[in-house]
Symmetry: C2
Subunit: 222 residues, 2 copies
Amino acid sequence: MIEVTTGSAAERVEASLRRSIIALDVLPGTRLSEQEIAVRHGVSRQPVREAFIGLSRTRLVEVRPQRGTVVTKISVPRLMQARFVREAIETAVVRRACETFDPTSRRRIDDLVALQAERAAAGDHAGFQRADTLFHAALAEGAGCALAWESVQDVKAHLDRACQLTLADPATMLPLVEQHRAILAGLDARDPEAATEAMRHHLWEIVRALPRAEARYPDLFE
Amino acid sequence: MIEVTTGSAAERVEASLRRSIIALDVLPGTRLSEQEIAVRHGVSRQPVREAFIGLSRTRLVEVRPQRGTVVTKISVPRLMQARFVREAIETAVVRRACETFDPTSRRRIDDLVALQAERAAAGDHAGFQRADTLFHAALAEGAGCALAWESVQDVKAHLDRACQLTLADPATMLPLVEQHRAILAGLDARDPEAATEAMRHHLWEIVRALPRAEARYPDLFE
DNA sequence: GGCGTCCGACTTGTATGGTAGTGTATGCAT
DNA sequence: ATGCATACACTACCATACAAGTCGGACGCC
């Protein structure tokens, strides 16, 4: 369980559960009990219930009235759609980024790439993914699309969860860092075609890695 | 108040409120009372609270703890971002639609355009917008992007609300129907460039109409 | 032994009361 | 008349109690 100290009890529980689900600490198909989670977090059922409703909006859990709440299994069609949406938005973002980009954000991104490379080399999945998220978020923010990023986050949650199955050792993570560098190269060159193509290639990585994961962990898929 | 009869009380209240907000039956800046809405819908405060939380996720309302809940004012920057996201997704959808499109959906869309033209001629705002939503939804579904459409809906809510201020008479609605036909023409010709350009032009309409609305109803904007 | 029925232990959904915090109005002192 | 402190009304938030529905197992019957 991850401790979060800000916001209301419902928000804390939701953030905690979301992290656990994406990190696969609770596996797809797991049944969640309002009661049990409530006592584990030291709150009543009501905040937990609200957390469930929040998670069900992005389909991380499925609330079946009077029957129970379960963590949704990984759906390949859903992942394909999520990737589609993410590609649509993020390629549009990098195109805009090629037009105008905040210099301050640009410098910060270099740090984030360096951080991510370090985490990858250390084999730290969680740190790697945190840095990845920060990279994409900073990209959107620097392009003046901070709000667009919010739309990406919902679908990204599903992709991140699937990525937990594909990220094994530094050899699988380091290429992703290189792809980030390629995106930045296109951006620095103010070359929309190169930047979008690099982003597109980057986001297709999950498609290439997915079949192996599905073959290896069939129980987690529906 | 609009009656909805399916789902839980919380869902019914949320759907009802969402409609009212988008239709501008309750104006931006209006303070919403849990208590009052509860008695109006014949439910307790708890489902209303959950409805508020749901609406706050897409920022249609703002819940300020211990202070009250208000309908968010129309934010021009937010609208620009919403349009950006919608353009990104929907242009990607029509590109895919040019590759493969379900023939059954294609036939249904003709009916939807006809329906919309009729509603426009009758000066029926609500019916016009319903048909518009169905048109775009059918487009996404026919292209096999039904799930992507869900991501559009959240941002579309804000755009639709602003459109309530710009749709006046049939003269403002009929051009939009023509733009829909232009998109279909590009789709039928399997011409991605023409189709995406038509979609882009269509979604820019709001930008052209917005300044007049803002000048006319400054109180509704922040 | 196989099958249908009923009961009970779960689940989520809803209602209600209490708590802490905020904004406002009111009365007092200056 | 004005500034300030205090009381009050109102809010969202949470806990608790109750209602309604579902699933599984035990039991009786065929």
